[in-house]
Each structure stands twice: as C-alpha cells, then as structure tokens.
Symmetry: C2
Subunit: 336 residues, 2 copies
Amino acid sequence: MVNMRDVAHRAGVSIATVSFVLNGTKPVTAATRARVEQSMADLGYRRNVVARALASRRTHIIAMAYPALDHKFGFSAAEFFTSAADAARKQDYHLVLWPVGNDGSELTELVGQGLVDGVVLMEVQLDDPRVAVLQKTATPFALIGRTSALEGLSHVDIDFDRTVEDAIGYLHGLGHRQLALISGNLNDPLFSTYGPYVRSEAAYRRVAPEYGLETVVLECSGSSLAGQDAMARLVRDHPDTTAVLIVNEFAALGAVAGLNRLGLRVPDDISVLPLLMAPEMAALTNPALTIMRTPGPELGQLGTEALIRQVEGADPLPPQLVPAKLYPGATTGPPR
Amino acid sequence: MVNMRDVAHRAGVSIATVSFVLNGTKPVTAATRARVEQSMADLGYRRNVVARALASRRTHIIAMAYPALDHKFGFSAAEFFTSAADAARKQDYHLVLWPVGNDGSELTELVGQGLVDGVVLMEVQLDDPRVAVLQKTATPFALIGRTSALEGLSHVDIDFDRTVEDAIGYLHGLGHRQLALISGNLNDPLFSTYGPYVRSEAAYRRVAPEYGLETVVLECSGSSLAGQDAMARLVRDHPDTTAVLIVNEFAALGAVAGLNRLGLRVPDDISVLPLLMAPEMAALTNPALTIMRTPGPELGQLGTEALIRQVEGADPLPPQLVPAKLYPGATTGPPR
C-alpha cells in the first residue's frame, strides 16, 4: 500500500507538502502541486476519502443532473454537457453527469452522500421536485432553466420570448402570414410543465397576434416519427400554413422528412424553422435546416460558473437569459 | 442538523436498523429499507460520507468513463449510457458519467478519491492508458470495447467480424460487386487505435476477398460534413462503386445528404449501409437508412453487469461479443 511518505519521497518534497496538496490546507505552487500529483499518479496513490472529507468539505466534483432515461439525450444536450464539463475543468473542478429521474428520489440518494460540491439541474420543470431536495440537503445548485418560483435561485436559461420574437419577425419579414407552432405533448406527465414547451408556446401566443397572425398550435412528442406525423396533421387540418416553428429538435428532423414524403417541397411549399437546435443536427436534413441555434455552449458554461461561484462563496452571478440566434440554412424562404 | 435518531424515530425503527441500511452491515427487508430511505428523504438527512466510508468500502456508485470532449456523444453513445444506467439502477447502483479524457490523467484524479466502486470504460483504444490507471489504483473495471492485450480483463464488445461478414454477405446477395468501406481518420491521434475503426477495417480486408471483391477503403472523420466529402471523393476516384459500408454514424448521415446533393439516387445509384448506428438516427435521413444496428442496449447492460459482479466478488461474466444486426430501411437495394 502506497502512503504519503512514498509520494513525498518520489516528488522530492516533505510529507507536509503532500498533505497541503491533498487537503488544500495551505497554498502550494503550481509546479510543486504538479510534481506531487504526478508522483501520486506514478505510484497509484489512492487519496483517502476519509482524510480528505475530514480535512475539507470540498470534493471539487460537481454534478449535472439530467434525466437521461426519460428525456432523450440529443445533440443540444451534449452541447450543454460538454460546455459545462469544459468550464468546470478550467476552474479545476470535475463535472460528472447524473442520469437521475426528474422526481427527485434518486437525486436524494446521491446528494445525501456528500460526494459532490454542488449540482447543475437540466431539463427544469415549472414545478420541479429536485429543487426541494437540494434545498433540504443544503446542496449548492444552479438551474439551467427556470421553475415558476425563482426567488433566490441561481439560474440561467434560454430567452424564449426573444427567441420566438426573432423567429416570428424573421418569417414575417419573408412574407409569411400563416404560421403554426409545433410544441410538445403536454399530456405526457414527463413534459407537462417542461419549461421549453410551456414558455415557447406562451411567447408564440403573445407575439403572433402582435403581427396580426392567427395562432395554430399542434402538440407533438419529441421524436422524429412524431414530427412526421405532426406534418401530416398540419397539412390536413391547416393546409394554408406556409411556415412552421418547431420546439423539439428530433421532431424538427422528422418534419422535414415528413414533408418530403408528403410530396411538399421545403421551403418552396412550406418553410421549417426549429426554435432550438444544435448546428450539427441542422446539417442532417436535406436541405439543411435554418435554425434558431440553441445557446447550449453559452448556457452550459454560465450555469457551471454560477454554481462554482456559489460553492466558493463568491458573489452570485446575476440570472442570465440568452436567446437562440438565427443560424442560416436552406429550409426557409418566401411563401409560395 | 438531522441525525440518525430522528430518522429512526420517523421510520419507527431502531437506530441500529438505520445504521444497517446506511452501511449495509446487515440485511434489512426491502420494506424497512424503503421506510428508512423515505424518512431520510423527508427529513433531508445527509448521509455522512466519512461514517459511510469507514463502515464500508462501497459507495454503490459506478462510473462510465466516456471522453465526451473528444469523442462526439451521439445517439449510439446515449443508448450505451442509458442502458448501463438502467442496468445499474436495477441492481441498486447509481451509474454516473465521467467525461474524462482518454489519456488517463483526469481518470487518475477521479478514481484516486475512492468515490466509486468501479468504472466502465467506453471508447476503448487498442493501447488504452486508462487501463493502467485502473490497475494501479486497484479499481474494479470492465471494458465496453477491447484493448490489444485482454488477458484477465473483464470486457464485452461489438463483434466486428460477424457484423462485417453479415453486412458484406447481405450486399453481395443483393448483387453488389463493387463495395467501399468508409472508415475513420487514422491520422487523428484521438482515433488512430480506436477499436471500431481498426477492427471494422481488418474484418473488411479479410472478408471482401473471400467474396472475390476488391477492397476500397476511404478515410473519413466522424462528422456529417466529412461524410459528404468522402462521397465526393468516392464518386470521383471509384465511380464504379455500387454500395458503401460506413463505420461512423455521423459520417453516414452526411453520406446520404452528400450523395443526394451530387445528384445520385440512394439506393438506385448507390446503396448506403452504416455498420454501427442507432435506429433513431436511421430515421433521420430521406430515405431512412438500412443499418447494422449498434448493440448499445445489450452491451451497456452486459458491461455494467460484468462490472457489478466484479465489485461484489461474484463469478466473472465471460467476455461477450455481440454483432450489430441488420435493421431494414430504404437505402439498400440491387445495384443499377
């Protein structure tokens, strides 16, 4: 069993210095820290979790809670996650992903063990049981998303109002007068108070009338097949529609394929504009999608920074809302 | 501060029973365990990591190491991850995702803290530095993938030989006599010894001649744009090709879009068959892809079970290779 003495010997430092590095009890130069850590790696020294926990309440690990078994982990989610992991690494933290359910029960078990310094919550619902779990256990946390009661909660989110305003303004400017919003399936209990669906629809219902437009909202689950099916319903029930806004990125991909299969040309017969999508995904359809680009890279970083400031007792980051921005592609054009 | 006495009182059990539940020192009925855990959740009891670590060397947390900042986290990766998380949950473990690099340095820091009972390695390279890190720290681990030296390592993997045999047999049966393999970019140091590329190509070079077929291999990075570009090179340099096998799932999506843009019809002019892809992704192209379906759900589960058996000192699972199976779509047909 390798001990601190072996590490100190190999690194050419005192045992006390090894202890300072391990427990953060005194500052150590970056070079010395690197030498000690290299020696620990070379020797396979296993930090003693007990000693560490006694010496410091910090693990320098933070978790992103993402309900991956219920919410599909797609390209946008991967962007949030990798940008958060990158931001954490730059501040000498490790970010790990916890695929725990949205109801809070598994989260209780994990945070109860005190293994992380804090949690970033993704896929936030308006009434999110995970918030109470984190408050009860006094775990620092930040939301990427917003509950309905935000008082005192550290959060960043997509600016859905601005995103929908910009999207409608853009399509109106191209000449469209018959739009439809393809939103989520609010009868699915997993998504009935899911922020992006609720807030996008509210913004659409507010903004469309300001342009003198009728509102048409179709519900649609978050899958490619559901997106295809939604287009069939749209063409049957609202044949005058010349442009669709779609919230879910998987449904949006299916929508383009679905319109093609219905014999409709995109964008000549109908324009398609997803409200939240990663550019990588936009390249997958033919033609490539015009999208409102999900600000995943920005929000993953901001959410992580908000959490780390809290963990370290620094001044809180003010809440920030970032709009999705128009990213040009070939699925939007003037109406026929 | 809530303590064990409060938990015991609320659950209507003795303090010793709470301790048994917390530390796993004696068996407790599922009903009692559930009552104690519910009381801990209700009261916001924070398990003491120190007490727990002293009482038991187990955390009941296992990690999946996936180099998400270097290897794109796509649909197939999500399938491996969610199936592993599900398998862990069924055995009363939590699986978390560690987005640590493939070089082993970050993994050293995380396993060194003793926070997990074991690690499942994803995106395995033939010579994978992470294996040495886990061996040195005596951390239980299982590979989803294979290094070149496997002696004594717990592993499961895709059966690339069988997958490529089945894929070539299928295309040959349709009448194709001019195939090409679109493999990875082996000049990229992050992928130069990446198992799926190396093993698929080796299998292709072995099997194609058995059917009397010439071998044509094009290198291609793992992105949609690279897949489009590979099709342009293929059509220019090997115009007689009637069917392509593609290893990377992102490149495969780009290949279909690229062929469409080159004015070629899929499958009338050229058939496209990805060797590893999740069905969800196959639905994204037009026409929908015929694929060899990545056995992510099977391997995520098997890899997790292999690890948990090791953690619990049970008999090891024998190594298992699972082939990708043909999953019908509309991008393959007889040659023109």
